[in-house]
């Protein structure tokens, strides 16, 4: 694959947009279609595309396997940790209503010059914050698992018989 210049150039052009779309699907999932799982697979698809075209060593430099391995667990910990924080705040597991913090929930007055309506929530809180954190956890785990599975397949030698 390395010898096709068109594929290499087009891949480099495409990957930023795939990653950007992944981030959009991740962080806009509360408002539009999408969410952690979708964002995770889109993000992993970008990494896998890079690995396919530029080879495994190149993608290992971008996303080292040791980091990816730890990210699989980190995502799940973010999810479960959100639930535990809710418990520590005195509620039930994953009861996001306890995450109300009241800090900067409205856009500060300094930004009044901006055109258009004020956004309803400047910093997410409560249910919104809970969903945000939980989806972030799902996104991290899915990205890492998909990438790791690709590494596991691509890192093997061909069986000759």
């Amino acid at each position: 694959m390395n010898s096709f210049p068109i594929i290499r150039v087009i891949t480099k052009l495409l990957i930023p947009y795939i990653l950007l779309f992944g981030l959009y699907v991740q962080f806009h999932g509360d408002f539009g279609p999408g969410g952690g799982f979708q964002a995770g697979v889109i993000f992993a698809a970008a990494l896998i595309l890079y690995g396919l075209v530029y080879g495994l060593p190149a993608v290992h430099k971008v996303a080292p396997p040791k980091v990816i391995e730890k990210l699989t667990a980190l995502g799940l910990l973010v999810y479960a940790g959100t639930g535990l924080v809710c418990m520590l705040l005195g509620g039930n597991f994953l009861d996001y209503d306890l995450l109300n913090h009241g800090v900067l929930t409205e856009l500060p007055a300094a930004f009044d010059f901006l055109p258009g309506d004020k956004p309803h929530h400047f910093l997410p809180e409560g249910q919104h914050l809970g969903i945000f954190l939980v989806e972030l956890g799902v996104g991290i785990t899915v990205t890492a698992v998909m990438t790791m599975i690709f590494y596991a397949f691509a890192g093997r030698e061909r069986v000759t018989s």
């Binding site: 509360d30 969410g35 979708q38 697979v41 994953l94 599975i149 069986v159 000759t160």
Partner: protein, 202 residues
């Protein structure tokens, strides 16, 4: 107007499925499953399920196809180069007469089609799924979620957050399992990636 898109997509889906079943070249079959997934994603988009369409396009058409191709490139070619499999290539010979399997498939298909008669019509406002939770999640989630418009995300991440936690744990566990089975055995701790252990997995 919609029929101009719907009918060709469904026809292509059926044609692709038959092709996958009939084609003997494994590489081509894998590529056709990718095409099938992409057509399914288009179909789900028409059914107003963009979340599922994203997933199908990225996982079904993208990652799964790549993993299947990777598997094919790793495994030796077992069957002959001439293309068509003959019955000796199977360890168990398939039964001679296709009539009995055809009968079973036909009966099963008829039963499934008969089963759909009891299902509510597509988009029926009186279907149980539209009327059951009263007030529905669509109405309930607006005050609960501080006006987050995406009810799907609200249901998945908040109302059924515990389920989604379980699903994430399943993905994590599956990833660990695949890693344990497939990862090449590098005994040296310094992680020299270039040295693959060959011969062990034959």
């Amino acid at each position: 107007m919609m029929d101009f898109i719907v009918i060709p997509i469904l026809a292509l889906l059926a044609a692709t499925a038959v092709t996958v079943a009939r084609i003997r070249n494994l590489w081509a079959a894998v590529m056709f499953t990718g095409i099938y997934s992409f057509l399914s994603a288009s179909w789900m988009l028409i059914l107003d399920a963009p979340d599922v369409a994203f997933t199908e396009a990225a996982v079904g058409a993208g990652i799964t196809t790549i993993l299947m191709l990777a598997t094919l490139s790793l495994t030796p070619r077992r069957h002959r180069k001439s293309g068509r499999l003959s019955s000796e290539d199977f360890e168990e010979r398939p039964s001679k007469s296709p009539l009995f399997p055809l009968l079973i498939v036909t009966i099963t298909g008829c039963a499934l089609v008969y089963g759909t008669f009891d299902m509510p019509h597509f988009g029926d406002p009186n279907a149980p799924i539209q009327v059951y939770p009263e007030p529905s999640f669509v109405e309930k989630s607006q005050p609960d979620m501080h006006g987050l418009p995406n009810v799907v995300t609200a249901v998945l991440a908040s109302y059924r957050g515990y389920d989604t936690l379980g699903e994430t744990a399943v993905i994590f566990t599956a990833g660990i399992a695949v890693l344990l089975i497939l990862r090449k055995n590098t005994d040296d701790k310094d992680g020299s990636e270039s040295q693959a252990v060959t011969g062990e997995n034959v």
